[in-house]
């Protein structure tokens, strides 16, 4: 009788119809391992060093997953998780987080001074032609939402994360495929530039469209290995 009862309840409540003994056959269940640090939908967590993944272009996320898997990008907890996963599966993971659209967090009040924020705004929107520093927006897009397939958006990231990453580019501990455009740009930044850019980016409100621009929406100022023509 109990068996029959179960059969009926399965019919009545489709939510129970999941095969007993099998986890849900979804990417959401498969990337559960990512969520303690990156949030359920890749929106980020309270830890300021763990970045938001949601809505970044799939090509960018895939490049990062590959770089962690191969050890080019070094963060042992990530290197360890990805070391023995197949590349097509990493692509699936990248696409999953690229498709997520949790809202961007409200901009946090900055404790940086007005001068620092002004310097940040100037570098982000105009760059510094004298020092051959392009504006962040010239590659990451006028809305700073990035461009498919390989250029990430810069919004929704905390200043600590942005400055740690720019620092890593400057010191050569973070690298990408040649020509390594980000390395070239970061090498021209001073410590103060990094602080200013990171502080300013975190004050930016969410644009109306938070999706990255489609491939080829604008022309990059120079060649970039992560964004092939």
């Amino acid at each position: 009788m109990a068996w029959v009862g179960l059969a009926i309840s399965v019919q009545t409540f489709p939510v129970l119809a999941q095969t007993p003994g099998h986890p849900p056959d979804t990417m959401e269940a498969r990337v559960e391992a990512c969520t303690p640090c990156h949030g359920k939908q890749g929106e980020g967590t309270s830890d300021v060093y763990f970045p938001r993944l949601a809505g970044k272009p799939a090509g960018y996320l895939y490049n990062q997953l590959l770089a962690f898997k191969n050890g080019r990008r070094k963060y042992p907890p990530m290197n360890y998780l990805l070391e023995y996963l197949g590349d097509p599966y990493l692509q699936d993971m990248a696409e999953y987080f690229a498709e997520q659209r949790p809202p961007l967090p409200a901009p946090a009040p900055s404790d940086a001074s007005k001068e620092v924020l002004q310097q940040g705004q100037s570098l982000v929107s105009r760059g510094d032609p004298v020092r051959q520093i392009p504006a962040c927006g010239s590659c990451h897009g006028p809305g700073l939402t990035g461009m498919e397939p390989g250029i990430p958006g810069l919004l929704g990231l905390r200043p600590n994360y942005v400055s740690a990453q720019l620092g890593a580019w400057r010191y050569g501990t973070r690298t990408a495929k040649a020509p390594d455009c980000m390395q070239q740009v970061a090498a021209r930044l001073t410590e103060a530039d990094v602080t200013a850019v990171a502080a300013y980016l975190a004050t930016r409100p969410a644009p109306i469209v938070i999706a990255p621009a489609p491939k080829g929406a604008y022309v990059l100022p120079f060649a970039c290995g992560s964004e092939p023509d």
């Binding site: 003994g21 391992a33 360890y80 070391e83 023995y84």
Partner: protein
């Protein structure tokens, strides 16, 4: 003594075997077989650096004695093994010596490879000769004094190395013998699944009895004790599934074993995987589950731990592993009646809670489910509590662990 007729018969069958062998083993067949055997030997794991060219060496291998760098085994004449002969290669595999007679460090598992037949060694060599040569100089080892003195290897060899090809046990089936040959020889399973003593060696009598892998801080469980990874009460199918796909109804591989399945075992034929399963099941000691009373913590402390552990478990773990530790095998492994949770060393259970992990992606399981790392979410006390809980709940017979043990493993290397 063999009679003349028997000798003649034997000779004839040997000759027939040779003729048959020649017919079958065209050069491309030998290369193919060599590639397969190189997979079984997992040569790639050490002889290829991350993002490096295949078999060009240069992978850093930290040991308690310093860092070794694996060598270039591509057929480059100047920097690889391009000038070696088939005999040189067999000598290296069989005796752990370079063509000039120099001694290899035992990080090269020649103590296992010595069991490989001359024919299999020749096939592997033929395969290595067929791949693209890479000109890349070997990097000098970086060993601390006195280990930098290669003469010390002589002492190690006297203590721990006995040369000789695998001798089939005529009382056992061909399948069992094939399994034993692969596990003890090319598979070099004993390199991790045996206790490593302070001299970096394994004594014969301790073979497959389990041990903490130096530098990695993962515990390679005993393959003979049913209280660890002894497979005496596993079905052959579950063993074969674990080896081939990385997941099974009884448990899942993580950590260093994920590497072995990913780079090596998943490529073996069903026949070979089954043969290994038959052998592994047979070497398990008679099933016995002695009651564990060796609680290392005072009783009040451990009961407090266990009740906190249940709270943590219900909040964090039960959604996948089930309220009764039943899991959803093979993807979400059961924790109840899971030897790897109960065994004396709690290192692996603690590390899984701290670091999480993905089983390897394999052809049989290309999109594995992952376990989240809890290092950032749980305190040392909570980690110790939840591990103590899963080691003692649902009839599991492990001992509780302390917050100190959990804390110590936070700094364990991850790769």
């Amino acid at each position: 003594m063999l009679s003349r007729a028997q000798v003649l018969g034997l000779l004839f069958s040997l000759l027939a075997g040779c003729a048959y062998g020649q017919q079958q083993n065209s050069p491309s067949d030998i290369v193919k077989r060599g590639e397969y055997l190189a997979r079984a030997g997992d040569c790639i794991a050490c002889h290829t650096a991350p993002e490096g060219r295949i078999f060009a060496g240069g992978r850093a291998m930290p040991t308690p004695f310093g860092t070794l760098y694996s060598s270039n085994i591509t057929p480059d004449r100047d920097t690889g093994i391009g000038k070696w002969t088939t005999e040189d290669f067999y000598k290296a595999m069989h005796t752990g010596r370079f063509p000039d007679g120099g001694l290899m460090y035992p990080a090269m598992p020649f103590a296992s490879y010595t069991k490989v037949t001359q024919a299999d060694s020749a096939a592997i060599f033929a395969y290595l000769k067929s791949i693209a040569p890479v000109s890349q100089k070997n990097r000098e080892h970086d060993l601390r004094f006195p280990y930098s003195n290669r003469q010390l290897i002589l002492g190690w060899r006297t203590l721990f190395f006995s040369e000789g090809e695998y001798k089939p046990d005529p009382s056992k089936s061909a399948e069992w013998n094939r399994g034993a040959y692969l596990v003890e020889g090319l598979g070099h399973c004993g390199m991790c699944h045996s206790p490593i003593n302070a001299l970096g060696g394994t004594s014969q009598s301790d073979a497959f009895k389990g041990g903490l892998i130096p530098m990695q801080n993962w515990y390679a469980p005993s393959l003979t004790s049913n209280r660890e990874a002894g497979l005496g009460d596993w079905s052959l199918k579950d063993i074969a599934d674990l080896l081939k796909t990385g997941v099974s109804a009884r448990g899942v591989v993580y950590g260093p074993m994920a590497e072995v399945v990913h780079n090596s075992l998943q490529y073996l034929t069903d026949e070979d995987t089954n043969a290994m399963a038959v052998y592994l099941k047979s070497i398990a000691e008679p099933a016995s589950r002695p009651p564990t009373t060796s609680a290392t913590l005072p009783t009040t402390e451990s009961s407090l731990l266990v009740s906190l552990g249940k709270t943590v478990y219900d909040a964090r773990c039960a959604s996948c592993h089930g309220a009764q530790g039943e899991g959803k095998p093979p993807h979400w492994p059961p924790l109840a009646n899971n030897q790897s949770i109960e065994m004396e060393s709690a290192v692996n259970a603690i590390r899984m809670v701290l670091n999480g992990g993905y089983p390897p992606g394999t052809e049989g399981n290309p999109r594995p489910y992952g376990m989240p790392p809890f290092a950032g979410l749980l305190s040392d006390n909570e980690v110790a509590a939840v591990v103590s809980y899963i080691r003692t709940a649902w009839g599991n017979r492990g001992a509780p662990v302390s917050a100190r043990e959990a804390n110590e493993l936070r700094s364990a290397p991850l790769n």
